[in-house]
């Protein structure tokens, strides 16, 4: 059935306990999953980063008593609650899809990775409770108590994403179980949770949360700045959001380098796809652009920078980097998607880091905000760009994992549902998510159109 070629995968493979027919390419199911994740992940960024930003402004209010701090924190908390509500439903869709689209993945490996979701469920629950208390508690709870009810939101937002990312790390670096005669045995859920990919994925995503949420929020106030709204309320919104993003963006470059070296170590074929490296090479070049030809395993065109890939991946210009030719064609991911997604992420990430550095330096050296209109236009653009980089990053790691759902243990085609009619489901899902996006955009405009003074008037 499988042509394992010269280099058989090290681990024994499993095809799943439900035993339905493999469905080659599983394209519709993968599209549905990718779409659902693309909708959910930006909201996760706000779940990670926004509560900390809100509490920061809330803390400023408690220290100074300035009403514009209160107005801003209160306004942001309402946005956070709405985004949380949308996140609850889009997150529920994801948990449904574990069963609907990948029944054999859940049936076979649920006992290994499931506990992480149990913990995530608890975190999510606590988040739901405290975000309701916090947002509805403005002007109703004692000041100190109210501030304190915000702290669990920050902690649970972090912990919840930790659990989910741990599972993704596990899919890329499966540990904590054995395989005997094609069956999964001896699950050790906590070992699986603390797999080798968990730390860099977690920190990479955590910083991405601050980059994405920070630049999007800052973009709103930068646009207001360009329209001439430069009062204390709008300035605080800009400075706080931009500061979070500007500190996270340069740090992300360093964490990204770390993540790249971990991928080199654990998933050499993913790295080869990221870089479009057809054959194992000593002192491998870094290729910008180009087009991979899967039929004869060659990379055409593109700008090669000699030895840079070896330097980046292994911190040694002469290091040997494993190429795509070391595994049979069936075991290679779709190279062009992964290659371009990665370049988009790195390109945008670099721009954002420069924008953030410019802001921090100006603030530090001149004790003022940058004056150029182009800086503010850049901040307005940075939000959507950060979103693109975020999604491109996830495409890099998830498409780069193909054709495996559990790396080198279970193939996507063995885990997917055998159901027909997924095309229809995909079309419906696209329509529903489009409606959702329009509705959320409408709501955020509505919220920002309300005068901030309304937040401090006791209703």
């Amino acid at each position: 059935m499988l042509d394992l070629g010269v280099l058989a995968a090290a681990a024994e493979q499993v095809t799943g306990v439900l035993g339905d027919q493999p469905a080659p390419d599983a394209l519709e199911a993968r599209r549905m999953q990718a779409l659902s994740l693309t909708v959910h992940i930006p909201i996760v960024c706000f779940g990670i980063a926004f509560p900390a930003m809100i509490l920061f402004v809330h803390g400023l209010y408690l220290r100074t008593g300035e009403p514009h701090f209160k107005a801003l924190a209160k306004r942001w908390s309402k946005v956070a609650l709405t985004l949380f509500a949308v996140g609850v439903v889009t997150g529920t869709i994801l948990s449904f899809e574990f069963g609907l689209l990948w029944p054999d993945f859940s049936a076979t490996f649920g006992e290994v990775y499931g506990v992480a979701f149990g913990l995530e469920g608890v975190a999510f629950f606590l988040e739901a409770i405290f975000i309701a208390i916090y947002v509805y508690g403005w002007d109703r709870l004692p000041r100190r108590t109210h501030f304190l009810t915000g702290i669990p939101i920050v902690i649970t937002g972090f912990f919840g994403s930790f659990c989910v990312i741990a599972v993704n790390g596990w899919m890329n670096d499966p540990t904590g179980f054995g395989v005997r005669n094609g069956e999964v045995v001896d699950p050790q859920p906590f070992t699986a949770l603390l797999n080798g990919n968990m730390w860099h994925e977690l920190i990479h995503m955590y910083l991405a949360g601050y980059v994405v949420a920070g630049f999007i929020v800052a973009g709103v106030y930068a646009a207001a700045h360009l329209r001439g709204k430069r009062d204390a309320y709008h300035r605080t919104g800009l400075v706080v959001a931009l500061s979070f993003a500007a500190l996270a963006a340069p740090a992300q470059v360093i964490v990204g380098d770390w993540a790249g070296r971990e991928v080199t170590k654990r998933q050499p074929i993913k790295l080869a796809a990221i870089e479009g490296l057809p054959t194992t090479t000593e002192g491998a070049p870094f290729t910008i652009g180009g087009w991979y030809d899967a039929d004869d395993n060659t990379m055409n065109g593109g700008i090669e920078i000699p030895k840079l890939l070896s330097l980046l991946a292994d911190h040694d210009p002469d290091a040997t980097i494993q190429g795509l030719d070391t595994v049979p064609p069936d075991d290679r991911p779709p190279v062009n998607i992964v290659h371009y997604a990665f370049q988009i992420m790195v390109g945008i990430g670099t721009l954002l880091a420069m924008l953030g550095a410019l802001f921090v330096l100006t603030l530090w050296r001149h004790k003022r905000l940058p004056r150029s209109k182009w800086f503010y236009r850049g901040v307005v653009a940075s939000g959507p760009l950060a979103l693109v980089a975020l999604v491109a990053g996830w495409i890099t790691t998830e498409v780069g994992r193909q054709p495996w759902i559990v790396y080198e243990v279970m193939r996507v085609e063995d885990s997917v549902t055998s159901s027909d009619g997924l095309e229809l489901g995909f079309a419906v899902l696209v329509a529903v998510y489009l409606l959702l996006a329009v509705a959320v955009a409408w709501l955020l405009r509505r919220l920002s159109a309300e005068a901030p003074e309304r937040e401090v008037v006791h209703r």
Partner: protein, 347 residues
């Protein structure tokens, strides 16, 4: 260990049936409240009651799902394969409902509120129906664990349809009882009367529906019927009947706060009865031991959830205490009133 995990699932189901069910029911009453002007008062009360709690209530569903796929992965995979269609439709309903409700709170014109309200209310009725058909299909033994495949017959049989309808009715009943109490707290005597009448009416309908459902079970899901009419299962059914009757009596005599608890107990007893009647099977034909994940997983799950509950229970109690003491609730406002031109600073 497996028994504890199954108990966790049933606890989660019970909580979701009571709390989530009441939220669905609120949508049912929203749908049937009449035109914008006539229904504005009812909708205002629903908006006020649901806003702080609906997200937390909804998380119980996620809890049930994750415990299921961790502790009983094969059964989970088989159920989700079989009921692909109704579960997909339910998932769409979840998106529409949650979003529309969250957005309605920010609607600026009566037309916006009307459209969002219609989406919220319709999906609130459709969603429990589909989830009910899945439970009914499971009860009728429609899941073939050895070789599951997507099946429309599985969720359109008599037991499944009955369960779907009952799920809608149950939610409406719980919600009417809860809203009657909320109306009293909001000091709206006319709404109190309105929901009292609704609670009495729907209570009788739901009770009659449940009895009819027993006959459907007798012809189409005999093992479950036998379990519910003997031993512990029968005790649970009788307890549910007693709690239901007590609820009607309490509502008749205007004691809504106590009725909240008996109404919830009536629903909880049905879920409990289902569990007692199907023991020791997880799905018909699949015993607990066959279905359960290895002990290491179950132990890890139970430890995790137990640790979680230590944090969750005080947090939940704090939330409900704040809600029931009206600390968090917004001042009552009929939904259509918000859009009257008297509200000076609205466009």
């Amino acid at each position: 260990m497996a028994e504890i995990c199954l108990a966790l699932i049933f606890v989660g189901l019970t909580m979701y049936a009571v709390l989530g069910g009441a939220d669905f029911g609120a949508g049912f009453w929203d749908l049937t409240a009449g035109g914008a002007e006539r229904g504005g008062r009812v909708r205002g009360l629903i908006q006020r009651s649901m806003s702080p709690v609906w997200e937390a209530n909804h998380v119980w569903l996620i809890f049930v799902l994750v415990v299921s796929w961790t502790a009983f992965p094969v059964a989970f995979g088989a159920v989700f394969t079989t009921f692909l269609v109704p579960l997909f439709l339910a998932a769409l309903g979840i998106i529409m409902r949650g979003t529309a409700f969250a957005l309605r709170g920010h609607a600026a014109t009566i037309n916006e509120a009307r459209v969002l309200g219609a989406v919220f209310a319709l999906s609130s009725v459709v969603l429990p129906f589909f989830l009910g058909t899945v439970l009914g299909g499971i009860a009728a033994g429609e899941v073939d664990v050895a070789d599951p495949s997507p099946s429309n017959a599985a969720w359109t049989g008599p037991v499944a349809i009955t369960a779907g309808v009952l799920a809608v009715l149950t939610g409406a009943y719980l919600s009417a009882v809860f809203l009657a109490g909320d109306a009293r707290r909001a000091e709206q005597p006319d709404l109190e009367r309105a929901f009292r009448a609704r609670a009495l009416g729907i209570g009788v309908v739901t009770g009659a529906g449940s009895i009819a459902a027993l006959f459907v079970l007798r012809s189409d899901a005999r093992p479950l019927f036998d379990g519910l009419t003997s031993g512990a299962g029968l005790a649970a059914v009788l307890a549910s009947v007693a709690a239901g009757a007590a609820t009607l009596a309490l509502i008749w005599t205007w004691r809504f706060e106590l009725a909240r608890w008996t109404a919830a107990a009536a629903v909880a007893a049905v879920v409990l009865g289902w569990w007692l009647a199907t023991r020791p099977d997880v799905l018909p034909g699949l015993t607990l031991d066959e279905a359960a994940a290895p002990d290491a997983t179950l132990t890890a799950l139970v430890v995790s959830v137990a640790f979680g509950l230590l944090l969750l229970i005080p947090a939940l109690l704090y939330l409900y205490r704040l809600v029931l003491s009206d600390t968090l609730t917004q001042s009552y406002e009929p939904l259509d009133q918000r859009f009257r031109p008297t509200d000076g600073d609205q466009p």
